[in-house]
Amino acid sequence: MIPEIGHFALILALSLALCQGVLPLVGAQRNDTAMMSVARTAAYGQFLFVAISFGCLIWAFVHDDFSVLYVANHSQLSLPIGYKVSAVWSAHEGSLLMWILILSGWTVAVARFSSGVPKVLLARVLGVLGLLSVGFLLFELLTSNAFERLIPAAIDGGDLNPLLQDPGLAIHPPILYIGYVGFSVAFAYAVAAMIGGDLDQNWARWMRPWTIVAWMFLTVGIALGSWWAYYELGWGGWWFWDAVENASFMPWLVGTALIHSLAVTERRGLFKSWTLLLSISAFSLSLLGTFLVRSGIIVSVHAFATDPTRGYFILGFLGIVVIGALALYAWRAPSLDSEVGFSPLSRETFLLLNNVLLVVAATLVLMGTLAPLVVEMINGGKISIGPPWFEVAFLVPTIPLVFLLGLGMHTAWRQQSTGPWIRLLRLPVIAAVVLGIVLPLMFYGRVGLLLGVGCTAAAWIVISSLIQPVRSWRRRKGSAAITRSALGMSIAHLGMGFFIIGVTIVSAFGIESDRAMRPGETLEVAGFDFELREIRQVQGPNYTAIEGVVEVRRDGDFVTTMRPQKRQYLVQRNWMTEAGIYPSWNKDLFVALGDELGDGAWSVRIQYKPMIRFIWIGALVMALGGLVSVTDRRYQEPAK
């Protein structure tokens, strides 16, 4: 019964989405207030019914309703309750429903928090969001119905993939999707502005906070995914340039460019058509990502097991949405050029560089992800593009970018006089270069070219980001208070600096050791002694495991005991590695158990990962910077 309610609620949501999509757009053309005001009500209604539907699906999982096919495929009686809930979004149909719920949620937020926005523009924005919802609801109802029945019902389910039985799964997809889907707001604003034909600095000001919030969630979502892969997959890696990872990274790169481009449009009315194009691209890349992951077109550990029929649907939807938007763009963009300028040394120049380099980076990632497909199309041979290519290619635009980052923050709009600029920055530049060489030498004993560049870049960004906050703090009294916007910028860039520290140090100084060990033997890695004390059996709620007990010492002093496991889950019966991790702010010790080699010996992988936490700390700080800048006064609701 409940699944039927869930299904029916979705159909109701679809009809509301249709109203929300069509009527306000027509109303906006005719300036018909009644029709335009349908948008808000329809949005609230749609959200209500999608939420009911999602709730019904959760209910089905929690109550072990194996007469629902999706539940039977992805749940199990012995699954802990928390994972029964997160199993809802563990596969295609349910995660798509979550996507729809989140899209609807964003729509409600836009409907609720846009009191300063002109009625006509808002009606169009909500209308476009409604049409997007229609597309996704149709996709779910026609090809991916989560409520499809299984008759006769299964006695027990096929179990949630053990890799996903983890707290990381509970939060990574929802957060990631909030970001991913959030770019639909920027997209809707772009389309709405193009339909209406006028686009000004106010438009940029209304749109920017939504974009920043979406970007924030995407940043955290990607970081969570990386952290999850690190501790769950057992190899110690934190980014694999896997097609699905790239699918989330490309919108992030373009989204970052968009935020910066919006700054220029908001401030000076420049780069309007470029901002439009970025808004369209960010969401298009989100859609492309959805397509890549759910259509079966690429090979990836992350890809949902799904079939080409769904692929055709998404591709069709993607085609309509993107071609429609770009057609509007080709029509409207020529008339948007403004006739103001800026001097070569100006913030506009640096933001332009920022955009250019980020777009090059995004294009390279896109190319690397799609090239195997294209090459296969042309001559049938398969080429492979993996981390070795991506790592090199990605550094080409990003190394210049990180150095320019530190400069752009302190450059005035329109025209910056060279003298004061050099005087402000020369000491920090010198300090950064010195620190970049000295610090790795001090702490890790050596320095090389790439390492030196990375550390200098990190030091430069950190120092440069701190200049404004520190100055404003020292001049507390008086008018030199730093705005939230500027503070947010500094914090976000600081986060980037932390991120680079993490990446550079762990790449240069990380140590990996694969060895055969017997109980009683000790291995030394990076000054730590790892003693494999014993191997024993343990029992979990729905798995049995072989556990290694590893004692870690340094210079004879006890540090910690680590317990890497190999788990065999009762239903799916494949073996999963649970790594033992000893985290601290400046390093991780990482131990994973491999194969039994016979004769009492086991293969053990021990890793030393200096500064790896900074990678994710950096991302969190970046997101924090976004949060701070969104609370700036100029984005607040006007007093009522």
Binding site: L163, Q201, E232, G234, W235, D242, A243, E266, R267, R268, V299, S300, V301, A303, E339, V340, G341, F342, E348, L352, V356, V359, V360, L364, M367, G368, V375, N379, G381, K382, I383, S384, I385, G386, P388, W389, V392, A393, P397, W413, R414, Q415, Q468, A480, I482, T483, S485, A486, M489, A516, N574, W575, M576, T577, G594, D595, L597, S603, R633, R634
Partner: protein, 144 residues
């Protein structure tokens, strides 16, 4: 459909996440060992979903590692080993595509894009430099 099923079945015989350690001995010579470890990180496990043979537990990965060890102990160079692999499995087996007609564009692309972007940047800048710098709108600004 059946083809896909078969390949899925074959791939299911692979354990998903346990990484691989060789049952054979590592090289005694640290230089050789380092070269070996570097090489196996760049070879794709052809039955897996996007893993290299260093991390994969599939039997084909173990076979490939064994062959590479054998070739290395016979004194073959990295290039010869890569050629051995590619002649059997195609370019796809290497994570780092080799320089060839097909893959040349891959390695040139980053620099080509950067160059193109530089031209675009210069063009926009020169256009904007010429225009009047209006003191039009006064938005809330950053403290400077």
């Amino acid at each position: 459909m059946t083809r896909r099923l078969a390949i899925m079945l074959a791939a299911m015989l692979v354990t998903v996440s346990a990484f691989a350690i060789d049952t054979g001995k590592a090289f005694d010579d640290p230089v050789l060992q380092a070269r070996y470890e570097h090489l196996i990180a760049e070879v794709r496990c052809v039955t897996c979903q996007n893993q290299n043979i260093r991390d994969s537990n599939a039997f084909i990965a173990a076979d490939l590692r064994r062959e590479i060890r054998r070739l290395m102990s016979e004194g073959k160079s990295d290039a010869e080993i890569k050629e051995f692999l590619v002649s059997r499995y195609g370019d796809f087996v290497l994570y780092r595509p080799r320089m060839s007609g097909k893959t040349l564009f891959l390695w040139i692309a980053p620099f080509a894009f950067l160059l193109f972007a530089a031209f675009a940047f210069v063009r926009v800048l020169r256009h904007r430099m010429m225009l009047p710098i209006d003191a039009e709108t006064t938005k809330e600004g950053e403290a400077q």
